[in-house]
Symmetry: D2
Amino acid sequence: MALNERQHSEIVGQSKSVSTTKRATVQALEEILYEPVQVLDHGFVRVIDYMGDDSAIVQAARVSYGHGTKKVNEDQGLINYLMRHRHTTPFEMCEIKFHIKLPLFVSRQWLRHRTANINEYSARYSILGSEFYLPKPEHLAKQSSSNRQGREDVLSAEEAHYVLELLKSDAEQTYQHYQELLNEDGEGQVIDPNRPALARELARMNLTLNYYTEWYWKIDLHNLFHFLSLRADGHAQYEIRVYAEAILKIVKRWVPFAYEAFLKYRLNGAHMSQPALAVIKSLLSGKSVEQSESGLSLREWRELMVLLGRDV
Amino acid sequence: MALNERQHSEIVGQSKSVSTTKRATVQALEEILYEPVQVLDHGFVRVIDYMGDDSAIVQAARVSYGHGTKKVNEDQGLINYLMRHRHTTPFEMCEIKFHIKLPLFVSRQWLRHRTANINEYSARYSILGSEFYLPKPEHLAKQSSSNRQGREDVLSAEEAHYVLELLKSDAEQTYQHYQELLNEDGEGQVIDPNRPALARELARMNLTLNYYTEWYWKIDLHNLFHFLSLRADGHAQYEIRVYAEAILKIVKRWVPFAYEAFLKYRLNGAHMSQPALAVIKSLLSGKSVEQSESGLSLREWRELMVLLGRDV
Amino acid sequence: MALNERQHSEIVGQSKSVSTTKRATVQALEEILYEPVQVLDHGFVRVIDYMGDDSAIVQAARVSYGHGTKKVNEDQGLINYLMRHRHTTPFEMCEIKFHIKLPLFVSRQWLRHRTANINEYSARYSILGSEFYLPKPEHLAKQSSSNRQGREDVLSAEEAHYVLELLKSDAEQTYQHYQELLNEDGEGQVIDPNRPALARELARMNLTLNYYTEWYWKIDLHNLFHFLSLRADGHAQYEIRVYAEAILKIVKRWVPFAYEAFLKYRLNGAHMSQPALAVIKSLLSGKSVEQSESGLSLREWRELMVLLGRDV
Amino acid sequence: MALNERQHSEIVGQSKSVSTTKRATVQALEEILYEPVQVLDHGFVRVIDYMGDDSAIVQAARVSYGHGTKKVNEDQGLINYLMRHRHTTPFEMCEIKFHIKLPLFVSRQWLRHRTANINEYSARYSILGSEFYLPKPEHLAKQSSSNRQGREDVLSAEEAHYVLELLKSDAEQTYQHYQELLNEDGEGQVIDPNRPALARELARMNLTLNYYTEWYWKIDLHNLFHFLSLRADGHAQYEIRVYAEAILKIVKRWVPFAYEAFLKYRLNGAHMSQPALAVIKSLLSGKSVEQSESGLSLREWRELMVLLGRDV
């Protein structure tokens, strides 16, 4: 597992320390609090803290809409209503904080989500760890010819071996040189007095983008759902999608009603354009429609037909 | 007190319900959780939930800066360091959620702080309560002639009486007419069948700006400090400053080290312009400096002299 | 029209002043630059400045996606693609600045859109104008019984007369008292020396929520589309919807391709939940489906049937 | 220079195309519009578009504060006043859009400024260029022993040679392998049919952090000043500071009054803590003060003495 010794002993410490609180508390999430969930070869996601639960969403909504009875089925109904009508502010009333370890090239995509709080491990201050990401052979795929940002066929075993050897040797070599440039033991003690100890903020530029970094990432539930709707989607790169999937499972423990509503109304739903709606109406009324007269491009037409379970 | 019956019984319920948690927990804040702190005549601030404590700030900083010993004095020292050097992201790792009742004209200033989550009571959906703000006589002051956004002399008892009568009668009259326009009991039952029951979203426009509204307001500690630095300042309007002061006391319970650092380095500090620094240097080296040659305007000069404890 | 004399002469001045620029420039928008478009009885929207055009969206996208030919039809195709796949960042590369005059109760809804820059007329510093909103009789409607935030039947002429008289007399009275409380001519000169001149920041609380305020509002095109998708929608309150509609016409002049894409893929499209998609598939394959077994609530079922042009 | 052929011909095209506009226009900025300013060995900053000028700041402020005469010296005075009193919203009314080419490790710091719009060159879609950053010998420095995030002594010529050779050979090797992994000509044509053409989104992970990326970066003036106050500061890493300095010169052309105010009141000013103010007061009244009784740490004391021009 990807935790270092200090982190491991910290987790043991945190897991033992129990307090009483009047705050909203979710037992299913408490069970896995601080525990790392492994992602990729050296990465992880673990929950550090959280605020609120399904009831907190309902409670915030009722500040706006007034009050009524509070049976469980009504709570779920209200959460579905909020999700469906894009009443997003009650979901902002829940907050979660993660500790995440992830490859640098994944962190660059992740950072484009601006509505979150981040504290990242700084290679200006500290020395980056020696772990880098190496894909499993089954995730090594060729460039897609139809989709410029996608993958296609998986490489053969032989091809994969060639690629992995190359990635591995370059990563190891750049890290070895990174250490030579630093020329110190992490406490500021020079190792080889005949060579310079280059500033950390400079030496880091020699590392490749598959090295792992770490951060604390704190976000509200509404913005987390937005992140998940983009990153748990089939179009997302595999290496970030697995993080999104790990987080989805955590969300299910945390706010099960909101999770169900998110799946039903957003992740597993679909947005229809104006001409797509017209096509469906025509089809339902028994008319035949041709792509050429539909107002849809060929690609849009095909995607709609797939969505409707029809032959393309 | 400004809580209605439903809110009161809710608080009693919440205060009794205690859970165990592995999360960071602050006993001094738990003691007042859910309890309203009165502000103005009918307003209040109460803490609904919180995430993190002083240690969470330190822990987030150490993700970035690396790790060392963790004695209490070092935690405080690190928090001071972060505050002083404007390393703001660790403070973003703490979050707090308030339930606040406040006059509409105060809410309009408050909303300009955009980096927060809000759920406001909606007068489109529900009927606004009958409470309005009436200043205490000692807070009724004349327009300042020197400061276009300020107050000056307090009104005489007679003048105050005249003003308060006028504010009171207009507020009461517009609310009575609001109810006539609504012409319903809050459950949608028409009261007088001979008059129309105007849509709530329209009727509300007849209310004056001193009526109270309510909201949930959730914000991270860094942005809360920014809010407090502007609204707990002497230049802020009295009616919002009292809210900021109530929140300051809550912050002191929640994150005492961060609170001390905020007072020391921000709220009770001062920013010096380039020419102000030059003036101080000259004075310290024994030279006399005149305002006219200082690069400071007359007003800047006076404010600097006051700050330095010198005769103007 | 709702412009005061100073504003009018400013517009005349601005409209005459013409410069040369190498920046992206849109003639159709230049034609109406600075010109107020009337909204409601005393409100307006006018464009003060803008940055970018349809080509700027394309150019920003091509920074990300690489480059190809640049025929007009390809630009439009790329913009459609971006809108459809929620690639929102290229739309953020366009920016527009409005001067808007609007009733206070509308401004309170508007402010909930946080990702924008605002400078509002301050009643702390200045004296608010005497204009208030009075709905046209045809926009005075009863509270909807089915939709707690909606309107239903329009009032009769007699009922409308009663409502308007009441709104008008209260607004006029509170403004008259506002002036009495201020007791100054706007330049700080006291009018009646026997009465106090109350601080502006206090006197303003006596005004009703239908008084007009003004602001500069600056926003990028992506966030403007989000605003429009919520506020040009049929569920939005009439009094904010008319502003959204006025802005939609301006957007059509400014970025015609992006405007068309927004209508086609968002405003006139619809989001389908997972069970709604399943219902459509079943219907298309000739099966009959009942609401009770569809996974849709009665309301969701009805809305879907309306959308598909079927009898409910 | 770091522009490729396509970019160069684009600039020539843009610079020739001139339109007339009624918008606020700044001739000093028009002169350098689209022209790249070189930064580091292969980077650049160039202005693509802008909105507003010094007058736009004043005009927005006057929406809030009311109106008066508009002589030039009053405009400058008002801008100074706004900067000094942290009235930030008028500065948000100006916007600027840059095209920037910068090393990946610099882009990672830059991205922490979240209140901006970005379109970055995507190595998922396209093939990254072959340029990487190599510091000049005079910018290669040893790790500071006192400041964990800083540099100290410059390397000797011999040491620098060793470091540069190492950085250069690793960058060249990883790029060569990147090309081997891609095994295509950029148009999707495979080069060597005996090797796989790895997906672009995977191949990119083999590059080192000194490779250059490009983006469009759009930001309002207030947030740009915040960026500059942190990144044009002496504590910022050299490689991002040079970008901030290049942007400062551009800001000087664009909004000269705001630029002067920023230097005077922020960049060249200093924030004093509460105990620092007390020390200054004591010194001015002729008392001697010791660090040990000042409430300042040793480091704070030294920094204050340097600021006041006194012996430490």
